[in-house]
């Protein structure tokens, strides 16, 4: 999947993956795609909740090299 920016939250625990993802999205324009990499198992559910609550669509949620990878589209 194409993306405009990548944020690597590897090694960070809750709430950092979500809070820093929000920060990364702040500097992006509507329609751009952010790729987030995380090692926190809790971030899988958190990203879904984040997408639902903020309206930033979660395009894909999967794994790559035993890390969790998310693609979010800025609303």
């Amino acid at each position: 999947m194409n993306f405009d920016k990548e944020y690597d939250a590897s090694g960070l625990a809750c709430p950092l993956p979500i809070v820093k993802t929000k920060k990364a999205l702040n500097d992006m324009t509507s329609g751009q795609v952010l790729k987030v990499v995380s090692t926190d198992p809790g971030s899988v559910c958190d990203m879904e909740a984040f997408a639902e609550q903020t309206g930033n669509a979660l395009l894909e949620s999967g794994s790559e090299n035993s890390k969790f990878v998310f693609f979010l589209k800025k609303a």
Binding site: P15, L16, I18, F50
Partner: protein
Amino acid sequence: MATKKMAIIATKGALDMAYPPLILASTAAALGWEVQIFFTFYGLALLRKDLSGIAISPLANPAMPMPVPMPVIVSVLPGMEAMATMMMKAKMKKKGVASLEELRDLCQEAEVKFVACQMTVDLFEFDKKDFVDGIEFGGAATFMKFAGETDVCLFI
């Protein structure tokens, strides 16, 4: 969807209880909520510029996970509180848990409103200069005004 609101009363100042208000507030703010934290009693410690004094004691914390079982009588020995604090902080760093300073900065950046209880400041004769910038001072009524409009109100 109307903006959700959350109010937190932070009354504790030990290392384990410093995290919940800051984690919940920063997360809610990241989700677009409007958040206020009212810091009172020992919670005021979280507003100090210098957070290095925030500690955790093994004494009277029977639920604290320990690497080895520790008799209560050992918890009161000099240095045990410092050791427990150091070990907890080291573990947090290893596991990628944010420091209190970082969480607090994230909160303020996300415009979480920090209100310090004026009564407690007067009671313990705290110096406002010791607190971080960007905080307001108020009383219970100030807090109630916002609390009454919230979707989530927590006492920590």
